[in-house]
Symmetry: D2
Subunit: 340 residues, 4 copies
């Protein structure tokens, strides 16, 4: 049995790590930290996690004794603590944005703060694309929730140089905004509403661009919307075929996705005409991808659904942990979506 | 006091006509028809409309005695009854798709049926664009719900030849699917989900294209999504500036919208940075338009919110009726959105 | 045209007063106050209320110049300002709990604060019961939202001495918790949940008891639940027949309700077997009452639906204002529920 | 590895059996039947269950070859097929109401049909109360969803003869109404509503009465409400202390619950002042019980939360299967609630 510690376990992603690791065959959580909850049993914060014996502790990162540490800390905080954990020889999966960028200048622009740890580089923790890099890493930068859904829905199009422009129109559940209440997450402001936000300037755009931009000169745009949903990100990816590829067929596009993702345990390609649903992946680490349609303006429509807290955060973090520890990649993550 | 009759008053749009006309200062509903509900008081179907004395009757369209008739009938049904009403000299506002197309061949393609009334032409009932035409008409074709939100959000961009491609990504409430239950509208299939549908082939695309395509060679795409919302259509319009207009500023775009819509009673332009919300227009005939942002890929993001049953259907129908009858255009439609 | 001022117009009840008074034929809002929003136009806070010219002002209560003042202020705050308004001769409708109790000791117990204005007495603003008292009053204490639904659903049973015990089990929408975000109203804590709270000690119990207890020795209990609803209170009233009335029939009970409420404009009694729905009263001042069933344990089940912000707050406040000003009681309040 | 077959696997309870058994360490589903879906892979009906190789078959019950059979069939249908399965020596967990009643006359009254299998008796499948009986049974009658939440919330009060009357006021999620769409489950009729139904005559009342009535002369009433929730039943149990027990304290009541349920894996008693939430048990087999308050009318308020499809149906069915097969009772059921 390997051991894991969680720094910042009081939020939703911390709760999800605890929930899923409670059923992991090879890893158990031995330490959880929180300054303000020091001494409190976990169920006071996560009422679904009872009788575990786990208690929040106010411990220094370097004092943790575990095979792997999850830093479920806000951006800016992670880069302050990750270096000292890595120095102890412990592997880290970081859930913040701090180590996702190949070029820290991009980070500094979009996150509007200095990056204080330019020494350590994170492997971009999207195993379906970077599995081999992750295997060799000590530090994994777990991707953002929107980027996970957006990149996976569009990657084969870009990898094959088919499109010149992609518009990512994403609809997210409210748990993505975290556990702290605000006017944005006030029930009467969300229920019966669909709220676009940061319509041309959301941070995750830069992360999506980093991953989809690289192959070719593709213009990537992104607009997120808050919807009356607890969990899940539904992504509609509108991509415009390059002039020279206007004759590609939906079947040919499907074939490219099958080639890319056919062996991936967590990615399921929908049947022809089948729409992916958030309910099918709710609470699970699966990604459902569908669409495969082309309209007469040369627009390819691709769709993806993930659970923002699982494949978009803690589930993917556990997937990365499994890779880091040399465990079967799906261990602890085989539970199906909670439908309905 | 003028009189109105409603054919097909048992559905949501019929209920909304009744709800709003109950407060109209100059028009009252005198007859409502339904074959299957013949003899039943209105509150058995619309429990919020009580003590009106109104009873469904199984009457022929030509037997109705009213200053204006609303045909809240499905497409295909309207073209069977509208001609005989018009022959009696009564004006008609049709809520179906039957008379919305300038070219009936487009209708026949998208609605997959023969058009049996090529003689009568409807004025396209979007008063903010076609007010003068409507004034002179006997028959108004009330626009579709998605097209109303989509066209109004994008019209000034197209009218001014600024953009070459528009992607309309719309999120609708479930009342748009009508009063009849189906698997699509089954609560557990909608709640906590976001369901794209007809992702490259929704009928309303042709209606949007008809209105936005005309000015120039603009490519218009459309994908609708069902969301866990009762009422409302939130439209995100992603438009790509033509090369020669890449230097236009957000302020210049706002000025074009102010010029176009500044005097419109029902259109409200949001302040800078203000996002329109469905809750602000819920139950009302107002349209809230915002966005006015341009990202560094040359994408203009415009947003609109309407209530799909009001400005997207029955409210706009009453607005059209007011114009047809020479009444103040906002009569009976001045109530504000139900926020929260 | 009469004039009204609103103190504390930045919350939901303030917004509702503005929304409904915007369509009032005889009264217009001339002043709205808020300390922190001084100088801001109303639509910055209430985005559905635009182009009114209304601006929040930081004015003293005694400086207001209006025929009636609404104090949409928290309990404790109202009793500080109501006396000075009354002294100017202006009539007041207070939306707080401060003046609802005949015995201020009860107030002091349940609200855990000293009552500093024992001089002024409010008429309990439930017009269906206290209309004549209200007519003569200068100060109306607008009832609480739960009490409005609870009292109206059970009053005829108690008035006729039929029952010995009533259990009020109420389910409320989240707007009742006000406009300020908190963990209680955080979307992920409400959606897909039903949250009982203050299960044996909610303040409104004392208000319900005051009104239902008086007729006889009736034991009244109350438990409220927060539900994933924006607006509305659905009340299920379980009442136990006295031994000597166990042979009463549902029809006889219905007759008592018809006798009590038959002439009331805002109260609608459901048909036999018809369940009242929140959607039927959404946004309106109507009260739908149904149930009229007795099970074999001698339990009478009565049901009521109101909109907590309208009949449960601002609509009833306007109804009271109409009575105070000698205007038709339903003026400005005739709009129907927003169904669906 | 033991094998299980599911008759009627196309509904929600069938889907839940498949979802949870997919992670069961000792049992696998080998056959699923459905007449109308014969030959279809399971994911066409349950899109979250993919790549299992399972295909619906149109098989006779007696042809199934498995260690246990789940009959996820409607009442009336189960009693037609259970006898022939039992005759093959296979154990059965029946999810319908057919075998829940000790007295078939009660069944015949409440289900309004003749009971055609009076020979076979089911053990009432509430393991926390009837574990020893279930161990020896061949046929388990899985309890109804409402009764599970209601009985567990109130059983210790009744067992200890404390109360004379119980009012069960339950709020259920819509998945309890099954997978088939109807007006009752139409999204716009559920969202933003709270709908009581069968307010004095729901079938489950008789099942609750059977279990809670037996100990003493307790009057049990029940009213269910449909709420805008996918999964879950929140039960508020209002119980009235007998005159001779009016001096019991909340702590004493808690002690009785601890004594009854302290060793139960699936039952969690809330801390003092802690409210149970549906989200804490969502998707899991746990029961959260709280309340433990007494008001000054002698009313004890107890609260319980279950997932209606899990502890209220398929999870409990698996729990019963585990007992029947001599497997650890919690096998396959240890996953935690999906919070948020």
């Amino acid at each position: 049995m390997k051991s894991a510690a969680i720094i910042g376990a009081s939020g939703y992603t911390g709760g999800e790590l605890l929930r899923m690791l409670s059923g992991h065959p090879d890893v158990e959580v031995t330490e959880i930290t929180s300054r303000k909850l020091d001494g409190e049993p976990v169920h006071k914060t996560h009422p679904h996690i009872r009788d575990t014996g786990l208690v929040f502790e106010d411990k220094k990162p370097s004092e943790l004794d575990a095979d792997v540490v999850f830093t479920a800390t806000p951006h800016g905080a992670s880069m302050k603590i990750v270096p000292e954990i890595l120095e102890t020889g412990t592997k880290v999966v970081d859930l913040s944005g701090d180590y996702r960028y190949r070029d820290t200048a991009v980070y500094e622009k979009w996150y509007a703060m200095k990056h204080t740890d330019k020494k350590n580089k994170g492997a971009f923790g999207l195993p379906e694309i970077y599995r081999e890099t992750i295997k060799k890493a000590d530090l994994v930068a777990n991707p953002g929730c929107f980027p996970t859904g957006a990149i996976l829905s569009s990657y084969p199009l870009v990898k094959n140089n088919l499109v010149e422009r992609i518009v990512i129109d994403s609809k997210t559940g409210v748990s993505g905004a975290g556990v702290n209440p605000s006017s944005t997450t006030h029930y009467p402001n969300i229920a019966d509403n669909v709220n676009p936000y940061k319509i041309s300037s959301h941070r995750h755009m830069s992360e999506i661009q980093q991953e989809l931009h690289g192959f070719d000169d593709v213009k990537v745009s992104f607009t997120p919307h808050l919807t009356p949903v607890n969990r899940g990100i539904q992504t509609t990816s509108h991509s415009f075929l390059k002039e020279e590829h206007l004759d590609i067929t939906p079947d040919e596009i499907r074939t490219l996705y099958e080639k890319e993702y056919g062996d991936e345990y967590f990615i399921k390609l929908m049947d022809e005409g089948e729409i992916p649903h958030l309910s099918s992946v709710r609470g699970s680490n699966f990604v459902h991808i569908g669409g495969f349609e082309i309209d007469d303006t040369g627009r390819v429509v691709m769709l993806s659904c993930i659970d923002n807290l699982v494949k978009g955060a803690s589930g993917q973090a556990i997937q990365n942990m499994n890779i880091l520890l040399g465990i079967d990649e799906s261990a602890g993550l085989t539970h199906l979506g909670l439908q309905p």
